[in-house]
C-alpha cells in the first residue's frame, strides 16, 4: 500500500522524479569515480562536460527543431568567462561557473533572437559564423584573452574534509559531474512541463502552434538561450578540468562533433545525450588503440583512427537511424512484446 502511494506521488510530481534521477545519478557517478584511476577520472570529467553541452543541444535540435553549428563557440564563451574570473578576479569556482552560464545565456539572446527568424541552411550558416568567429577574438585581443596560447588557471583544490589523499582528477570529475547533474535536473523538468510540449509543438507546425496561442519566436529564442547556458556551463567545466582556455580548444570541428554526438545518441532525448557523451569520449581513444594495434607505418597509423571513426559513425547510423537511444527503445519494445507473448501463451 505504501509502495503504491509512493509510485503515485512519483507519477504526479516532476520534482520528485527529477530529484530521484539526480540522486541516483550522483550515487552511481560517485561509485564509478571511486573505482577509476586518474586518467579514467579525467575521461569521466570530459564525458560529464560533454553531456552538459549535448543535453542542451539535443533540446535545441531535437525538441525545438532548430540547429546550431555554433555551440563550440558558446563553450568558448563559458570557458573564457571562468578562466578570466578565476584567474584575474580570484572568484570562487561555483560563482565563476554560474557567471559562465549567465554570460553565455546573455550571448545566446541575440543569437537566439536572430536564429528564431532564420530557417534551415541560413540558421546553420549564421551559427557557423559564430563558431568560426568567436574563438578568433582571442587572437584579436591577446592582452585580454592571451592570444593563441590562451589563459591558464590553477587547478581546483579538493576540500580538506575529503582527506589529503583525494586525487585532483577525481575532484575534477566530481565537479564536472555535479554540473552535468544540474543540467539533467533542469532539462528533465523542462521536457516534462508544458514548455517542453510547447517547444515540440512549435517544431512540428509553427502556424498551428501560433494559432494555439504559442509565441513561436519567443519559444525558439528561449530554447536557444537555455541551450546556450548549458553550453556555457560545459565550456566552463572544460576550462576547470583542463585549467586552460585556448582558441585551439574550440575549433569548428568541435561544433560539428557536438552535433554528431546528439544525432548519434538519439535526437531530443536526455538519455541520448548520455550515449552521445560516452561516444565522444570513448570512441576516439578506442579507434586510436585499435589503429595502433596493427603495427602499421606511422603515416597510416596516424590517419587510420579518423577512417575507423567515420566508419563507426556510418555503421551506427545505418543500424540505429534514430540514434543509440532509439535503438535501445526499440529493443525494449521488442522485449516487452516478447514477454507479453509468452504470458499470453501460458
Amino acid at each position: 500500500m505504501r509502495r503504491l502511494g509512493g509510485s503515485a506521488a512519483l507519477r504526479r510530481s516532476t520534482l520528485l522524479r527529477s530529484l530521484g534521477l539526480v540522486a541516483a545519478g550522483a550515487v552511481v557517478l560517485a561509485l564509478v569515480s571511486e573505482g577509476l584511476g586518474a586518467y579514467d577520472n579525467l575521461e569521466l570529467a570530459t564525458g560529464a562536460y560533454y553531456f552538459a553541452v549535448l543535453a542542451g543541444l539535443t533540446v535545441l535540435v531535437g525538441v525545438s527543431g532548430q540547429i546550431s553549428l555554433g555551440h563550440g563557440g558558446l563553450m568558448a564563451v563559458g570557458a573564457y568567462t571562468v578562466v578570466l574570473l578565476i584567474g584575474n578576479e580570484q572568484w570562487a569556482l561555483v560563482p565563476a561557473l554560474a557567471a559562465a552560464v549567465v554570460v553565455t545565456s546573455l550571448v545566446g539572446i541575440p543569437v537566439g533572437a536572430a536564429a528564431s527568424r532564420l530557417r534551415g541552411p541560413y540558421l546553420a550558416g549564421a551559427t557557423l559564423a559564430f563558431a568560426v568567429g568567436l574563438p578568433a577574438l582571442a587572437d584579436k585581443f591577446p592582452a585580454t584573452f592571451g592570444g593563441e596560447n590562451g589563459l591558464t588557471i590553477n587547478p581546483p583544490t579538493p576540500p580538506s574534509f575529503l582527506g589529503a589523499s583525494f586525487e585532483l582528477e577525481r575532484w575534477e570529475a566530481w565537479i564536472a559531474c555535479a554540473g552535468a547533474l544540474i543540467v539533467l535536473f533542469v532539462l528533465y523538468n523542462l521536457l516534462h512541463s508544458g514548455f517542453g510540449r510547447a517547444l515540440r509543438a512549435v517544431r512540428d507546425d509553427e502556424i498551428a502552434a501560433s494559432l494555439c496561442g504559442l509565441r513561436v519566436g519567443r519559444a525558439q529564442t528561449l530554447a536557444f538561450i537555455l541551450s546556450a547556458g548549458c553550453a556555457g556551463l560545459g565550456g566552463g567545466l572544460l576550462a576547470v578540468v583542463l585549467q586552460l582556455a585556448t582558441p585551439g580548444a574550440f575549433p569548428l570541428e568541435l561544433s560539428l562533433t557536438l552535433l554528431t554526438g546528439v544525432v548519434l545518441g538519439g535526437l531530443g532525448s536526455l538519455a541520448g545525450a548520455i550515449w552521445g557523451a560516452a561516444v565522444l569520449v570513448l570512441l576516439p581513444s578506442w579507434t586510436n588503440d585499435l589503429a595502433h594495434s596493427f603495427s602499421l607505418s606511422a603515416n597510416v597509423e596516424n590517419n587510420l583512427p579518423f577512417a575507423i571513426y567515420g566508419l563507426v559513425l556510418i555503421g551506427a547510423m545505418l543500424v540505429w537511424p534514430s540514434g543509440i537511444q532509439g535503438g535501445v527503445r526499440e529493443l525494449g519494445g521488442r522485449l516487452r512484446r516478447l514477454r507479453a507473448h509468452r504470458v499470453a501463451e501460458r
Binding site: 514548455f195 507546425d205 502552434a209
Partner: protein, 277 residues
C-alpha cells in the same frame, strides 16, 4: 437582401477589407459579419479569396485597407498567437495536428491560454507547474470527450483514421473555449455519416459561439449554415440564407460562367472538390 446590423459589442465585423499581392487583388472591399450563435458559410470558386479572408482575420495577412472589429473592439494589428486569448480559434485545411505529439498533447497545446505557471517553476519542476499541467490536461480530456474521442489519448495523429484526426483538430480548437470559431474546409474528406455528425456538432455549439466556415461541400453548407457569403474574384457577390443563395443569378453565373458545360452549378463545384479530396 436585408442589411444586417450587429448588436453593439458582439460578434466579428469585417469592414471594407482590401488585400492585394503584387498587384493582384485578392480581396476587394470585402465586408462580412458574423454574430454569436450564427453559423456563416463562406463559399466561392477556387481562388475567390476565402482562405485569404481567414488569413486576414488571423493576422497572417495584413490588409491594405479596411478594419476589423471583434466584440465591439477594433482589432488593430492582429498577431496569430493572440487570437486564442481573444477567444478566436481556427482549424486548418486538412488536419494540421502536430504529428509527433500524442492526441492528448495536441489538444493540451490548444489550451495554452489557460496556462498560469511560468518558465521558472517549469525549470525547477515545482508542484505549481505540475498542478497547472494537470488542469490543462483535464480541459483537453473534456474537449476530447465532448467530440467522442475517448481512449485515444496516447495515440499519434498519424495512426488514426482521417475523420478522427479531424475531430481531434476540432477539439484542439474548442478547448480554448472560443467565441469565434473559424473552420477551414471542415467537411473535406468526410463521408456522409461523418458529415452528419459534424453538422450536429456545429449545431450544438450554442448561442455564444459565432462560427465561420469555408467549405466547398454545398450540401453541408446548406444544412449547417444560417447564412452564406459568396466570394468571387475577391468580391462579395451574395450574402443571404442558403436557400436564396442557391437561386441567386450572380452566384450561378460565378460557378457556371466559366465552364457552363460541366453540370448544374454549385453541385459541380462540390463534386470537383470531392474528387480532389
Amino acid at each position: 437582401m436585408e442589411p444586417r446590423e450587429l448588436a453593439r459589442g458582439t460578434g466579428l465585423s469585417v469592414h471594407e477589407i482590401t488585400v492585394s499581392f503584387a498587384g493582384i487583388t485578392a480581396l476587394e472591399h470585402v465586408s462580412v459579419d458574423v454574430a454569436p450563435g450564427e453559423v456563416l458559410g463562406v463559399i466561392g470558386p477556387n481562388g475567390a479569396g476565402k482562405t485569404t479572408l481567414f488569413n486576414v482575420i488571423c493576422g497572417f495577412v495584413a490588409p491594405q485597407s479596411g478594419a476589423l472589429r471583434w466584440r465591439g473592439e477594433p482589432l488593430g494589428r492582429i498577431r496569430p498567437d493572440r487570437l486564442a486569448a481573444l477567444r478566436i480559434a481556427r482549424t486548418l485545411q486538412g488536419v494540421g495536428l502536430f504529428p509527433h505529439l500524442t492526441v492528448l498533447e495536441n489538444v493540451t497545446v490548444g489550451a495554452t491560454r489557460f496556462r498560469r505557471a511560468g518558465l521558472g517553476s517549469a525549470l525547477l519542476g515545482l508542484p505549481r507547474s505540475d498542478r497547472d499541467e494537470r488542469a490543462l490536461r483535464e480541459r483537453a480530456r473534456a474537449a476530447l470527450a465532448q467530440l467522442g474521442c475517448e481512449n485515444i489519448d496516447e495515440r499519434l495523429p498519424g495512426t488514426l483514421p482521417y475523420a478522427v484526426q479531424k475531430r481531434v483538430a476540432l477539439a484542439r480548437a474548442l478547448v480554448c473555449e472560443p467565441e469565434l470559431l473559424l473552420l477551414d474546409e471542415p467537411a473535406g474528406g468526410l463521408d456522409a455519416r461523418e458529415l452528419s455528425d459534424l453538422a450536429k456538432l456545429v449545431a450544438s455549439l450554442g448561442s455564444s459561439v459565432a462560427v465561420m466556415l469555408v467549405e466547398h461541400h454545398m450540401d453541408f453548407v446548406t444544412s449547417v449554415c444560417d447564412r452564406v457569403v459568396v466570394l468571387d474574384f475577391g468580391r462579395v457577390i451574395a450574402d443571404d440564407v442558403p436557400r436564396a443563395i442557391q437561386q441567386d443569378p450572380h452566384v450561378l453565373e460565378a460557378y457556371l460562367g466559366r465552364d457552363a458545360d460541366t453540370g448544374d452549378g454549385l453541385g459541380a463545384e462540390a463534386r470537383a472538390t470531392d474528387a480532389r479530396g
